[in-house]
Symmetry: D2
Subunit: 376 residues, 4 copies
Amino acid sequence: MSGNTLGTLFTVTSFGESHGPAIGCVVDGCPPGLALTAADIQIELDRRKPGTSRHVTQRREPDEVEILSGVFEGFTTGTPIGLLIRNQDQRSKDYGNIAETFRPGHADYSYWQKYGIRDPRGGGRSSARETAVRVAAGAIAKKWLRERYGVLIRACMSALGPIDIPFVCWDEVDRNPFFAPNADIVPQLETYMDELRKSGDSIGARIDVVASGVPVGWGEPVYGRIDADIAYAMMGINAVKGVEIGAGFASVAQRGTEHGDEITPQGFLSNNAGGVLGGISTGQDIIASIAIKPTSSLRLDRRSIDRQGAPVIVNTHGRHDPCVGIRAAPIAESMLALVLIDHALRHRAQCADVLTTTPRIAALAPDGQQRLPSPR
Amino acid sequence: MSGNTLGTLFTVTSFGESHGPAIGCVVDGCPPGLALTAADIQIELDRRKPGTSRHVTQRREPDEVEILSGVFEGFTTGTPIGLLIRNQDQRSKDYGNIAETFRPGHADYSYWQKYGIRDPRGGGRSSARETAVRVAAGAIAKKWLRERYGVLIRACMSALGPIDIPFVCWDEVDRNPFFAPNADIVPQLETYMDELRKSGDSIGARIDVVASGVPVGWGEPVYGRIDADIAYAMMGINAVKGVEIGAGFASVAQRGTEHGDEITPQGFLSNNAGGVLGGISTGQDIIASIAIKPTSSLRLDRRSIDRQGAPVIVNTHGRHDPCVGIRAAPIAESMLALVLIDHALRHRAQCADVLTTTPRIAALAPDGQQRLPSPR
Amino acid sequence: MSGNTLGTLFTVTSFGESHGPAIGCVVDGCPPGLALTAADIQIELDRRKPGTSRHVTQRREPDEVEILSGVFEGFTTGTPIGLLIRNQDQRSKDYGNIAETFRPGHADYSYWQKYGIRDPRGGGRSSARETAVRVAAGAIAKKWLRERYGVLIRACMSALGPIDIPFVCWDEVDRNPFFAPNADIVPQLETYMDELRKSGDSIGARIDVVASGVPVGWGEPVYGRIDADIAYAMMGINAVKGVEIGAGFASVAQRGTEHGDEITPQGFLSNNAGGVLGGISTGQDIIASIAIKPTSSLRLDRRSIDRQGAPVIVNTHGRHDPCVGIRAAPIAESMLALVLIDHALRHRAQCADVLTTTPRIAALAPDGQQRLPSPR
Amino acid sequence: MSGNTLGTLFTVTSFGESHGPAIGCVVDGCPPGLALTAADIQIELDRRKPGTSRHVTQRREPDEVEILSGVFEGFTTGTPIGLLIRNQDQRSKDYGNIAETFRPGHADYSYWQKYGIRDPRGGGRSSARETAVRVAAGAIAKKWLRERYGVLIRACMSALGPIDIPFVCWDEVDRNPFFAPNADIVPQLETYMDELRKSGDSIGARIDVVASGVPVGWGEPVYGRIDADIAYAMMGINAVKGVEIGAGFASVAQRGTEHGDEITPQGFLSNNAGGVLGGISTGQDIIASIAIKPTSSLRLDRRSIDRQGAPVIVNTHGRHDPCVGIRAAPIAESMLALVLIDHALRHRAQCADVLTTTPRIAALAPDGQQRLPSPR
């Protein structure tokens, strides 16, 4: 194990480089009896795949997934599910100069010093291309969570660089290339991105991800908290620099009377907790928010050094996302799904026999008003 | 395993409730030959222990640690180190009413629904008292990292509620009860806390934690990133709602030309990355920042329900920290130390034979100016 | 993690040296709601403890266990159970010369070369004293398995050195100091041991361990087989050199028509499989058998070397078991229980929703005739 | 994780069914810088592959391996190595009746009751076909162990059913289809197998596996012993029912003076320990021996039941090994290699800094006489 397996009971073991023959993974621990076809996975991969608008990389990858095992006559068998995505559009020559220099903001230098060798083609293992694997595995998790427990997982962009995106409704998210939950703001985003692209620069973004319908009781004290695992999963997405649960950093300036979500027989009155107390789900929406840094691949000149330590000027041509956050919503959904299914299984392992007569506290009314944390 | 073990190779397995006979842990995987006495651990425990100022809980716990195993004639033997801290000041009667109701913002409800049983005395397992164990284990990690690799780990408060605390110098941190790196602001903090305490309310805080001298190359792609493990460890601290690495959420509004840390033969020119690229340390300071929510234990009335679902008013008397963030700096240091020692061992397991001739890039000049991320 | 944690979901993390202040463990992942007192554990510890007959070590250890956490008002809470056993009868002076030499058959040399330091008092960490911890943890597992699933776990001695012990009945096992399932053979065993003890030599033994009532379906392909985990657990007992499941080594000379257990609507017709097919339990008795080597501590002269590599003659005085196998039955039961509870939890995590209408095949009639594998 | 990952630091995560599209695995944690090509793996796969003599299954599988990732310009990069073997010779129609009945000695019934669904084609996941994956992964481990530490791992058949095979020399092993270390006995084995095949029955076998050149110090107390991990790995091979280390079950009847390997400045005088003391390697040959049951697939009539519980007579046509032990030597070597590389990495993680001046005790003279444990 060298960091390429996610999860404890429902595990994803990933492999593959950006410009190698293929990427893929082994999904182990999936409950048997889940109806599953390649199409179920493909639909999620298509949401993330490159080339779907002018605002993302123009690399042409159909990202076609093949199920190699673990499914028999349309149902999972409980044995490992091998998933394979062949790389199609490798232009390794685009990356010739990467081999000798370290691009600022990239993992070139840290990989090189760690391993003494690295596959520089397209960033090799550190490329965001690997996130296709997460989406493929996450599709299985999402399907099981929805069918078995009614859990619904959705993500949207809440900020593109300096532009805050007020939440309007989930339905809008898949209708624009930004996963923005707000149709009115889309023209502004498009203009911003067009100008950015011309400038050769890149920009960060913020993504919110929400799981609704999570039963109370998933998670574990004291290190294996469900929010700790969410933080781990989210920070493990390429380019993520920050993770919040519920009120997040806004809770620094909150008073206890404001932050602590009061309870009535009708339900919780707020959700500053983001659906987690003591590392265990409360039944409210689980809400996380992540900060994604601007893409490090720029065609503008940047100072760096080469492998001998001599100064160089680097700039990166080829095909890149000027804002990697744009395609991040499906990835964030997948990572949340993978954490949740893992804790679903862990919970029923230990607590399958637990039965309390205490009524389940209702989650907030699904009117959207308090669905996403307002304080930023 | 039900969430109470931290780490992969250097592990801490924790046990104990706030008002049970004892708390403690087993530290496994410690390298042999480290000079270690109970005093080495006690010095860190004393930094976290309650009752050291009027701004924290008045519970009287000496937090005396006993080493039960794994040390022979003053040196670690490589076998598990059992650590035991007896609880001294249990006033279980203070918590009688907790057993029947669910305090807002606390883990009462989620524990109850998960396990069908809970130890309500002082919050039981969900009490921040458990963090003493982390500090004890972290003391071992810190000592080894410092002696073996020269790694220095320090934390400070950077905001107390609405009051930002500008960083001045590390030396100040242990001279005031707030772990504030700034002597001038301490009177303001004291006034704020005195008024808060009178009001019966509580407040959040922000803690920055920095590791200096970390070698390049620690960490793993793609899920087991060192920043992902830091996020996991930090979000696993009681009351933490957000984690940032380097520029954190400020990177949302940054452009790539601003965020990507340029490199010269003299060193990195900035540290927006927070010392991590591609999940692997760069040799720069590793910088994390965490948001700590306000204490949920308030003597003010709050709405809730009891175990039968009927509405109740709860308020919590007894001894609490009005700002749990005040004692959090040693905990954050310990969690970072535990992540780092784990990755130190993981790295040399896989890469002990790696040798590159590329010069190590210098970290930023230790003038403090850019040591902590400025954009908030 | 450095080898001191057993299990995946129900875990035992052990610490302690033979002559340190204490031994103990953290049991994590125990289902909540199990009635548990120290007496439940003590009863099993008393079966293993030293000094109960003249045939075992005369070290006087009451092996009194203290429950430090995880139990509230007589029931497990689902949080980690800390168990502590103080060492009472340390005579470290007996072991002075061990520090400088390597006793044949002991772990002295391998520990020394691995760690560069070792606690030589009574064998330190490598002492069989650590097995008390396993019995304590195993007592919890046994109780849960019995109460929740009706699983019964029993072990007996089937050979003492050259003396085969034919199985008669389980009731006899706890009536003699050898855990022999056969009253008639006890005098022969006593005579043998008395002569052996006088000679200063030691002897091996064979232990059979059986779990009855295990549901069909526990275990996992392809590496995490339940028989693989049993082999791991058993070989992890001090002095064990061999493990068999079902027919074991006798299956080498069997034909398929003899070995393969036929099935009828009335049940399996034999149990060469030892209750496991494809790594998954069949519902028949799970049967394992282990070989325990003779104690390495002898008062007879043996050739060895000292830390400088010079030849020495060593002999070990002090208090030892001339046959460590005599006290091994409770340990083997505990290890089997720990494996089974772990797989019980793992199974319901993944397969909680599985329901087939195929009738469960009956286990062999419990007349004892085929309960233990006959071919040796 | 549902049992399909082997190892802690050097891990193999396996997938694939006998008659699905492919089998394969992800090897994670491999040290960077190892020279590796598909040919290095293929050479080991060819030793195991079916159809190489009339004594094994006639299924025609070239077992061609494709390296999908983790290797760049002929060297491992430290990132996960994806290995893929497409299935070629699926005759699923041969297995039609398996779907409705439970073959005696097979995993049909236990899989069915566990998962409620199974892929019956060729045994699906429980087929020995999966062992090709182990050999592929093991080839990487063997190469690294040999090149980095000079460790040599070899296995041979030591008994075919009732025929004991005296050890003569290793050179002979790859010259006959039985992996017999003895040329003289091969005609007898061939005659035996020809008659067995005609009878329609099957037979067990015994395999010895030896690692030479293992450094002292690999392994961990108290559960993670290297011999416990070997037992786990070996018992995890299809059809294995017993595992011995060193003297194994012969140690039951040994006295301490016979069993304990004496030490002189010239080296150990015997190797009853099988190269392991206290769970840690001694520097002597590590010696294990395994019992392999007779193949359960027989064309002779056997009693069983169908999915409704009704009595049926089953017999299995198609292509099977009448003695699965014949092809087991490369598998046993691979499993031992996988355990050893894992412990090599684990050891240097914790003990990289250990340096003792005690001389290493020589292993037994490599004259072969005592290389394999004599007492059976």
